[in-house]
C-alpha cells in the first residue's frame, strides 16, 4: 500500500468513526460533558485551597486568663474553627463521635496555677483521624499551638523582666524549623489534587471508551466491514478509528489546561504547549494500552472493558500521588510501571510542578513510547478476531 492510499483509508475510517459517534449521546456525555463538569466541580469545591473551617471543640476546665489567651491563639489560626465550646469533656467527646467536631482541645483544671508555680501542666489534644485530611490538618495546628502556648506564657514573663525579643526566643526556643514546601508554598490542596484528578478521570475514560468503541464493531456485527475498509490492515483499522477520539481527548486536555493554568492561575513550570505534548503522548499510550487489552482478549468486548476498568481504576491508586508507591507492596510497585497514568504523574511532577530537566523522567517517556507499540504484538490475534470471532454477551 502506498502512502496515498493509506491516508485515504485513514480519512475514510476517521469519517466513519465521526459518523458513528455523532449518533451516540453516550460518547458525548462521557467524553465531553463529564470531564468539563468534574473540572468545574473539583476546582470549585477546593477553591479555598486549604481547609480552614474544620470545627474543633474546646473544653476549658481551667477558665483562667492564661487558658483564654491560649485558646484565642488557636482560634486565630487559619485552619481551625474553635466555635464550639463545651462545658465538660464527655460532651465534647460525644460531639467528636457524632462528627460535629473533628478535634478537641482540653485544658484541664489547674493549668494557670501550675504554670505559674513551675509545675508544667499538660494540655490535651484529640484529633479524629478516621477523617484523614481533617485529622492531619488539625494535628498540625495543635502541634503548633502546643509550642506557642508554652512560648506565650514565658514570653510574657520575660518581657516583663525587660529581656528583648531575640534573647527571649533564643532562650525558650533555641532551634526553630522553617519549612519550604517547594512549588506549592501555601500547601494548596487544589493544586495538589486537581492536577491529577482530572487527567486521571480522563485517562480512565480513554481506557474504557477505547475498548467500548472497538468492541461495538463486533457487537453490531460491522467488524468485517471495518476491517475491509482498512484494506485488511489492523494498524490502519485501529489508527483510523481511534485518531478522531484522540482529537476529542486533546480538546478536553486543552480545555483543562486553559481552565487550570490560565483561568485559575495554577502554577505551571513548563510551557502549555509542552504539557499538551505530554498529554498527547499519554493519551495515545492509553489508547494503545486499551487496544492491546482488547487484542489479548480477542473480541471479548465485555471482558476487555472490565479489565480496562479494573486497571483504569487501579491506576488512580497506583499512580501514587496520595499514598506513595514506595510504601505499597513490591508487586504493586511493579504493576504501576505499566500504567500510563503513573508515568503521567511522574512527568507532571518533574515538568509542571517542579520544572526540572526532562532528562530525569526519560524512563517514563520510554515506557509510554513502548506502550504505543503494544498493540503490534496482537496483530495476529486481531486478524483472527476480525475474521472468526463474533460478539458474545
Amino acid at each position: 500500500m502506498d502512502i496515498k492510499s493509506i491516508f485515504s483509508r485513514l480519512k475514510k475510517l476517521a469519517l466513519r468513526e465521526v459518523e458513528i459517534s455523532r449518533r451516540r449521546p453516550l460518547y458525548l456525555f462521557c467524553m465531553l460533558i463529564a470531564p468539563v463538569f468534574f473540572s468545574f466541580m473539583f476546582v470549585d469545591v477546593m477553591e479555598e485551597g486549604a481547609p480552614n473551617e474544620i470545627p474543633a471543640a474546646v473544653v476549658d476546665d481551667d477558665d483562667s486568663q492564661v487558658s483564654r489567651t491560649l485558646l484565642r491563639t488557636l482560634d486565630a489560626m487559619q485552619e481551625t474553627n474553635l466555635t464550639v465550646k463545651y462545658k465538660n469533656f464527655s460532651d465534647a467527646k460525644d460531639a467528636l463521635r457524632k462528627g460535629e467536631v473533628f478535634a478537641i482541645v482540653h485544658v484541664p483544671h489547674g493549668l494557670s496555677e501550675k504554670a505559674l508555680t513551675q509545675r508544667t501542666p499538660t494540655i490535651y489534644f484529640y484529633t479524629n483521624d478516621a477523617y484523614f485530611l481533617a485529622g492531619s490538618f488539625l494535628f498540625k495546628n495543635m502541634k503548633v499551638l502546643g509550642e506557642l502556648s508554652g512560648l506565650a506564657i514565658t514570653k510574657a514573663t520575660l518581657s516583663a523582666k525587660g529581656l528583648d525579643e531575640d534573647r527571649i526566643m533564643g532562650l525558650i526556643q533555641p532551634i526553630t524549623v522553617e519549612s519550604h514546601p517547594l512549588n506549592n508554598p501555601s500547601l494548596n490542596y487544589s493544586i495538589y489534587l486537581t492536577n491529577i484528578f482530572i487527567p486521571a478521570i480522563l485517562l480512565l475514560i480513554v481506557f474504557i471508551a477505547t475498548c467500548y468503541s472497538i468492541g461495538l464493531e463486533w457487537k453490531r456485527g460491522t467488524q468485517k466491514k471495518w476491517f475491509k475498509e482498512s484494506g485488511e490492515n489492523v494498524v490502519i483499522a485501529l489508527t483510523g478509528k481511534l485518531l478522531p477520539q484522540t482529537a476529542v481527548y486533546m480538546l478536553m486536555f486543552a480545555f483543562m489546561d486553559v481552565y487550570l493554568y490560565k483561568i485559575n492561575g495554577f502554577p505551571i513550570a513548563c510551557s502549555l504547549l509542552r504539557l499538551l505534548g505530554i498529554q498527547l503522548l499519554v493519551t495515545l499510550a492509553s489508547q494503545a494500552f486499551s487496544a492491546a487489552i482488547f487484542g489479548i482478549l480477542a473480541g471479548q468486548m465485555r471482558l476487555a472493558m472490565s479489565v480496562a476498568s479494573l486497571l483504569g481504576v487501579l491506576s488512580i491508586s497506583l499512580c501514587g500521588f496520595t499514598f506513595p508507591v514506595m510504601a505499597m507492596p513490591k508487586i504493586m510497585e511493579a504493576i504501576s510501571w505499566l500504567l500510563p497514568l503513573r508515568h503521567y504523574y511522574l512527568i507532571y511532577v518533574n515538568q509542571v510542578l517542579d520544572g526540572y530537566s526532562i532528562i530525569y523522567v526519560w524512563k517514563s517517556f520510554a515506557v509510554l513510547v513502548a506502550i504505543l507499540g503494544l498493540p503490534l504484538l496482537f496483530i495476529k490475534v486481531y486478524e483472527k478476531a476480525f475474521n472468526e470471532v463474533n460478539y458474545q454477551a
Binding site: R97, A134, A327, Y356
Partner: protein, 385 residues
Amino acid sequence: MKILQICYNEFKEIFSDVGIVIFVIILPLAYPLLYAYIYDNEVVREVPVVVVDDSQTNISREFLRRCDASPDIKIISHATGMENARTYLERTDAYGIIRIPREFSDDIAQGRQTVVGIYCDMASMMYYKNLMITVAVVAQDMNKEIKVNKLGSSTDREAEISAAPVTYESKAMYNPQSGYSSFLIPAVLMLIIQQSLMLGIGMHMGGTREQNFGFAIPKGDLYRNPVYIYLGKMLAYFIIYIVDATYFFVVVNKIFTLPQMSTFGTYLAWMVPYLIACISYSILFSILVYRREDCIMLFVFLSLPLIFISGISWPISEIPQKWLYFSYLFPSSLGIHAYVRTNTMGASIDDIAFYHWGLIIQAAIYTILSLIFYYWQLKKRKIEE
C-alpha cells in the same frame, strides 16, 4: 407469589450471566482485598531525604542522627551544598532536604535562635507530613534538653524560664496510627456496594433491552404490575448484597485488622436502608443503559468524583453548600459517613440520625421514582401493543 416468581427469574438471569456475576459477586469479594492489600502498610516510612550540614558540629550531627532514627524519614546522603542537594530531588532519589545553617551550634551556645530549614518536594503531601513532623519533634526535644543544660549553670532569671511552662499531649482518635487504609477502606467498601450495583443492574437492564426491542421489562403475564416487578428485582439484589455486606463486616475487617467498633445490629440498621437506596437508585439510573456494555462506560469513572464529593477526604466542613446538596443525590455520600461513624468511630445509630434518616429518605424517593419508571415502561408497551 408473583413477587417471588419474578425474584426467582431475576436470580436465574443473574447467575446465568457471567458479566453480572462478575459485578455483583466477584467484584465485591475481590476488590476490598485488593485495596486492603495495596494499603496494607497503612503509613509511609523512611521517606528518603538528603541533608546539608553547614555546621558540622557535634550538636548538628546529633540533630541529624535523631532525624534519621525516626521511622518516618531516612537520610540517604550528605550533600555538599544546596545546589548539590537539589539534584537529589530532581532525580527523585530524595523527596526532601534538611539544612543546618553554619551558625547552628554558635547560635545555640550564645543563646540566639537558630533556624533549621526543610525543603520538600510536594509531589505527595505524605512526604511533607513525614519530614515536617519528624524535624519538628526532634527540634522540640532538643530544645527541652538545651534548656535543661542551661539550667545547670543557671541564674535565677534563667531558672524561671527554663522549665517548659506548658506541655501537651496529642492523641489520634479512632485511627491511632493515622493509617491510610483505616481511613480509605471504609469509603471504598461503601462505594463498591453502590458502584457494583449500578454496573450489575445496568448490565441486566442492557440485556433486557437488547432482548426486548428496547423495553426495560420482559414480556409475559408475570410482568404487569410495577410494584411486583420492583419488589421482585429488589428482593433478588437485596439478598445478594446482604451477603456481600456481611462479608465486608465479618471477613474484610478481620483479615486486615481494620477498626470495628460497631455491632452487627447497628451495621444492619443503616445498611438495610443503604442497600435499598442503592438498589433503587441503580434501577432508576439504569434507564440510561440501552446496551449491556454501556453501563461500564457510564458508571465506572464516577467512582473518583463520588468518593471525593462524599467529604471523606476533603473535609465536609469545606465543601460548599451547593455541592453538599449535590452529593446527597448519591447514597454513597451518606453511606460512607454512616459506616465510618458507626464502625470506625463507634457512634450509635442515634448519633448518625442524619445519615440514617437521609438513607431512608433516599430509599423512599428512589423507590417511588423506580416505580414511576416501571409504570411508564409498562404503559409505553401497552400502547405499542
